[in-house]
């Protein structure tokens, strides 16, 4: 099967180590993949700002870059959600349909298909699992706390076999962190407050590292951590699974 790896624009620029660890992990567990050249952005920031009509070019570019692959794996639940959910506004050619049906978040893909092949790693830290809202309520990787049934983080199966890890559940485990793409810039006061509240929740519970499958949430939280010099770190879950030291 021809698999493409899609690296979100902000990861490429700001967190290349996440892309590197993801690729290293994919090789370790035996996923063969290509990284198509000329990747840009899925267009979500434009569309979420009310400029879907100006994102159409970006949509077509994304489809042209990835549409020939049987499977596209993206290092983001949020970006892959956008493609699945909102690429319905362009003509539904065979390529577009295939892309929308087969695009998956890399973390979810590994969890579903390769969980038994993950390398044995140790992570002697107090970790809180942050579930991005688009992964949770958009892609439905897990059950959200609103739905009237017991729930836990959908990332739990991935960390169950990690040695020495201590998972800490926050008071409001699936409340939004406040990123929301351009929301974080337009309404920065509310956005920063939401992030700060989440970080306070984590600090009060003795968390050392916030781990997520969505780096965009973590980018926002990391910005607050650094500004306030808080005793916390953020890591993508694939870095943890790859055995990267903190």
């Amino acid at each position: 099967m021809k698999i493409a790896l899609s690296i979100p624009c902000f990861i490429e620029e700001f967190y290349p180590e996440v892309a590197d660890s993801s690729m290293e992990l994919m090789r370790k567990i035996g996923i063969e993949f290509d990284v198509p050249r000329g990747q840009t952005c899925c267009g979500q920031p434009l569309a979420n700002s009310g400029y879907e009509h100006k994102a159409i070019g970006a949509y077509h570019h994304y489809v042209n870059t990835f549409g020939d692959f049987e499977q596209t794996l993206m290092i983001s639940g949020s970006c892959s959600y956008h493609i699945k959910e909102h690429y319905d506004v362009i003509e539904q050619t065979g390529k577009v349909k295939r892309l929308r049906e087969n695009i998956r978040d890399l973390t979810e893909y590994i969890m579903s298909e390769y969980i038994g092949k993950l390398p044995k790693v140790s992570y002697p830290h107090k970790v809180s699992l942050h579930t991005g809202c688009h992964s949770l309520r958009g892609m439905r990787f897990g059950v959200s706390s609103e739905l009237g049934m017991p729930t836990k983080s959908f990332l739990i199966p991935l960390v169950e076999h990690i040695e020495n890890i201590e998972i800490i559940t926050l008071d409001r485990p699936d409340e939004c962190c406040g990123f929301g793409g351009t929301f974080s810039v337009y309404y920065d006061e509310i956005s920063v407050r939401m992030g700060t509240d989440k970080l306070d929740d984590a600090i009060n519970k003795g968390v050392e590292v916030l781990v997520s499958n969505d780096m965009s949430c973590l980018m926002h939280l990391d910005g607050i951590i650094k500004k306030r010099k808080l005793p916390l770190k953020v890591r993508h879950i694939l870095q943890v699974l790859n055995g990267d030291k903190l």
């Binding site: 620029e13 700002s49 009310g50 400029y51 100006k54 009237g148 006061e189 509310i190």
Partner: protein
């Protein structure tokens, strides 16, 4: 003037203690709701059923409205139709004039807030007393509600004590909620006894029986209706449900979603006038039938006004209801208001991270966050946004199509971040940098 959510919410959140207290109070309600909902094993099926009933009813609204009117008339009620708020207010005014009413008690009606009935009646020399505690408090403060179920949630008990002292000469500094409630009760009892008419809202109107149902915790609707000769019930035309047997689906959901209670303390059915009394039902459109025509947006009419989307919304909880500048705030308000005035409320659909919690908590499964997204597109296409935003977004759109330019732009950005001193990067135009550090550029 357009509502400036950004500025209003920023000033609300600036007062850290107050906004944290507001957030905690509403999160507490959300938690109570979760516990209530957990007790219903088939909650998700119930949501689906409620959504289906509402969808069916709204799709056949013409038929059910006629059926409701026929049955209500048979029961002896007088039915009025109001195309907008002004017409509604006039009808109320005429009923009250006919009976020479100079004072009226009101309970449970967000619709009359929407129609701005109080100022209209007061202008015409009629005294209006809101009888539900929260609404009475904000009426005394001359403020709009900040929440549809908990209208005075933004006010602390110390402030209520101060207010009552000022208005009713109660004990200064007595902040005991029981004492304060009792004082309100004493004052309201007098109002009930000296009013000649009562107006209530409507939670559900049953087409099959022509009855209306009002769900309350304080019983003021019952008190007003039973103590005064003239009763008026104002309802939006979307309040209809086809059959009485459908009612159980909604009463099980309404209170649980609103406050976590299994059911409201009172579920009052009003079907026919009292002996020698008059019962009026005013069916109000006020833009609803226009909304019903809107592809992608009409399902917002399913709303049963439980307020759960407000309690769960992380932005509402930290911004306060008044930041939305409309009677119905929060996520549901943000998808209702653009129908009323796209330009005025164009900021509201953007006041969300699209986290989807509102859609998941909604008992009638309105896809609120999707509608927020869709409203953003309507606003973007209609160029209601500031020009600077439009130009920047247009440039970004072109960039994302062309990897070469995209790389170049990121590269320039990288260089800028590296060489410019912090005071330029963190200037007042850079909202990211005010509360956060910029991400570090790690790529060569």
């Amino acid at each position: 003037m357009a509502i400036d959510f950004k500025q209003k919410s920023a000033s609300f959140v600036e007062n850290k203690d107050r906004s944290a207290w507001h957030d905690t109070a509403l999160w507490f309600v959300r938690n109570k709701r979760d516990i209530g909902v957990m007790g219903v094993e088939y909650w998700e099926q119930l949501r689906l059923q409620a959504s289906n009933i509402k969808t069916h009813c709204l799709s056949n609204l013409d038929k059910y409205l006629v059926e409701f009117e026929e049955n209500a008339l048979k029961n002896g009620a007088i039915v009025h139709w109001a195309k907008d708020g002004d017409e509604h207010n006039k009808i109320v005014g005429e009923i009250l004039n006919k009976h020479k009413v100079t004072k009226i008690v009101k309970s449970k009606s967000m619709l009359t807030e929407e129609c701005e009935l109080n100022p209209y009646l007061e202008k015409n020399g009629i005294e209006v007393i809101d009888t539900d505690l929260g609404e009475r408090i904000i009426q005394l403060r001359n403020e709009p509600p900040s929440h549809i179920v908990l209208p005075a949630i933004h006010i602390k008990k110390e402030e209520v004590s101060e207010l009552f002292h000022e208005k009713w000469d109660t004990e200064r500094g007595n902040n005991d909620p029981q004492y304060l409630t009792y004082q309100a009760r004493l004052s309201l009892r007098k109002d009930f006894l000296t009013s000649d008419a009562a107006l209530t809202g409507v939670n559900f109107a049953v087409a099959e029986t022509g009855e209306i149902v009002v769900c309350t915790n304080e019983g003021n609707a019952d008190m007003g209706v039973n103590i005064t000769p003239v009763q008026i019930h104002s309802m939006g035309l979307e309040k209809l449900i086809p059959k009485r047997s459908h009612l159980g689906v909604f009463t099980r959901m309404l209170a649980r979603s609103a406050t976590g209670q299994a059911i409201t303390v009172y579920t009052s059915h009003f079907k026919k006038p009292k002996p020698k009394g008059e019962m009026h039902i005013i069916i109000v459109d006020n833009g609803r039938s226009e909304r019903l025509k809107k592809e992608g947006f009409w399902t917002s009419l399913k709303c049963i006004r439980c307020g759960a989307c407000m309690n769960t919304c992380p932005i509402y909880r930290r911004s306060g209801g008044h930041s939305y500048g409309y009677t119905i705030p929060g996520p549901i308000g943000a998808i209702l208001t653009p129908n009323i005035n796209l330009e005025k409320y164009s900021d509201l659909p953007f006041a969300s991270t699209l986290c989807g919690s509102c859609s998941d908590v909604c008992p009638v499964k309105i896809d609120i966050h999707n509608q927020l997204y869709k409203w953003r597109q309507v606003i973007g296409r209609n160029n209601v946004l500031p020009k600077t935003k439009t130009i920047a977004m247009g440039m970004a759109g072109k960039m994302l199509e062309k990897p070469g330019i995209f790389k170049f732009a990121f590269k320039m950005g990288r260089i800028a971040l590296k060489i410019l001193p912090d005071f330029i990067v963190y200037n007042r135009w850079n909202n990211w940098g005010k509360g956060r550090k910029m991400p570090e550029i790690k790529k060569k």
